[in-house]
Amino acid sequence: MLNSWKLKEIVLMSLFGVVFGIVYLLFIHLGNIWAGLIGPIAYEWMFGIWFIVSIICMHIIRKPGAAVMPETMAAVIEVMLGNAVGPRLILSGIVQGLGAEAAFAVTRYRHFNLFVFMLAGIGAAVFSFIYGFFVSGYAALDPSFVALMFTLRVLSGAIIAGIGGKYIGDALLATGSLRGYAIARSKTGDASA
């Protein structure tokens, strides 16, 4: 699978991983302070932020793996920076990335429009919720409360990651620095590459 990848695409994902790794860590700490007040539901409405790098990279590179790899790399870099969420971030990064990847795989990597990006955000939300259900022990919570958390996370995935990811990707395309990537080869930015 890696043979079809150019090195510049991998380094690009890594650098995006660094930028978003920092953003992610910032929001983890913000979320933590917030979560001390209102509990784990504090994270839910902003969960989409943690899925965004998958969608931006897939928007730009448009190859199988361009959603799961940057998310994983961002997680590895978060771990390298050192934090108290630690190594399990890599696991959750892989899970979230796979969720986003699933949406692109279902559409066979042919369509890259807002709808698919929102679907990818939802996919990441669903996958990460199943994982979080297990690791954080949501089973101990009231089902209606868990349902509320789930709804918030899905909405956040669709809006922040889906719409936000497309917005950032399009804005980057407008800067002209993305010549030489799949996104620039499709004129409208959302036709199939």
Binding site: L2, W5, K6, L7, K8, I10, V11, L12, M13, S14, L15, F16, G17, V18, V19, I22, V23, H29, N32, I33, A35, G36, L37, I38, G39, P40, A42, I56, M69, M73, V76, I77, V79, M80, L81, G82, N83, A84, V85, G86, P87, R88, I90, L91, F134, V135, S136, G137, A139, A140, L141, D142, P143, F145, I168, A171, L172, T175, S177, L178
Partner: protein
């Protein structure tokens, strides 16, 4: 003795920490995570040169988070059986609910302490090297990640530069923290555009120097795995099994 955790193979340490964390997720009694939390602190006391000031600084936000878990589980818990032990503001808290709430809160603490055991004793570059050498991560990805990591200080400088440029031109008049948070989007796009260019340049440079990204067996700086890693892994597993057994015993 006090360098054992630092010398442990990073990839093996990573696998052990992750497996034990997933194992802990199966327990809903308060004693198992609590015992494990203290066990991890003991490990850090005996086998590492931990900077406890940094440790506390990192732990603080997660202690807050643990408190959030505690009261959320009490108020929104699924468990309603058992005898009522106390009530507050009309919420009746049963002993079972209290136990589960404590368990989830202690779980947060146990996870954080275990993460810090990893984070504060592991050299980031050696970690990626060891992922490549022991866990067969593709060199393309491993070196890609390392390039990104090395760019960290450059990106930091760039962040401040862009911010200052904005301020110089009067584009950013942010007074409150939430305005600054929204203002991130104005900084992030130039940052990412710069990142794209840097990625391209460094990828060309790597290829020009003969980097193909093929899997290899010989390394310039080998990271070894040996008997020490086996012993330390056994210690971690023993701690985990011990806290499981005693935790279930104490709460049963």
């Amino acid at each position: 003795m006090r360098n054992l955790l630092h010398d442990m193979n990073p990839a093996i340490k990573f696998v052990m920490v992750t497996v034990v964390m997933l194992g802990l997720a199966f327990f809903f009694n308060p004693w198992t995570p609590l015992l494990f939390f203290f066990g991890v602190i003991c490990l850090q006391l005996f086998f590492s040169r931990m900077d406890w000031k940094i440790w506390s600084l990192f732990m603080l936000p997660f202690t807050l988070g643990a408190f959030g878990y505690l009261w959320t589980t009490i108020v929104f818990g699924a468990e309603t059986e058992g005898t009522v032990i106390w009530s507050l503001f009309g919420f009746e808290v049963t002993d079972e609910q209290w136990a589960v709430a404590l368990s989830l809160a202690f779980r947060v603490l146990a996870f954080s302490s275990l993460s810090l055991l990893f984070a504060l004793t592991t050299d980031p570059v050696r970690f990626v090297m060891s992922l490549m050498q022991q866990l067969k991560l593709s060199p393309k990805i491993a070196y890609g990640v390392l390039v990104g990591y090395q760019f960290l200080p450059v990106l930091k400088d760039e962040f401040f530069q862009i911010q200052q440029a904005h301020r110089l031109r009067g584009a950013a008049t942010e007074k409150y923290w939430w305005q600054r948070l929204l203002g991130i989007r104005r900084v992030i796009i130039p940052m990412l555009a710069g990142a794209v260019r840097k990625a391209e340049r460094s990828a060309f440079a790597m290829e020009a120097r003969g980097f193909t990204g093929e899997a290899r067996t010989e390394f310039y700086r080998p990271v070894r795995a040996g008997r020490l890693d086996m012993v330390m892994s056994l210690v971690i597993v023993a701690l985990f099994v011990g806290s499981c057994v005693f935790g279930v015993y104490l709460s049963g």
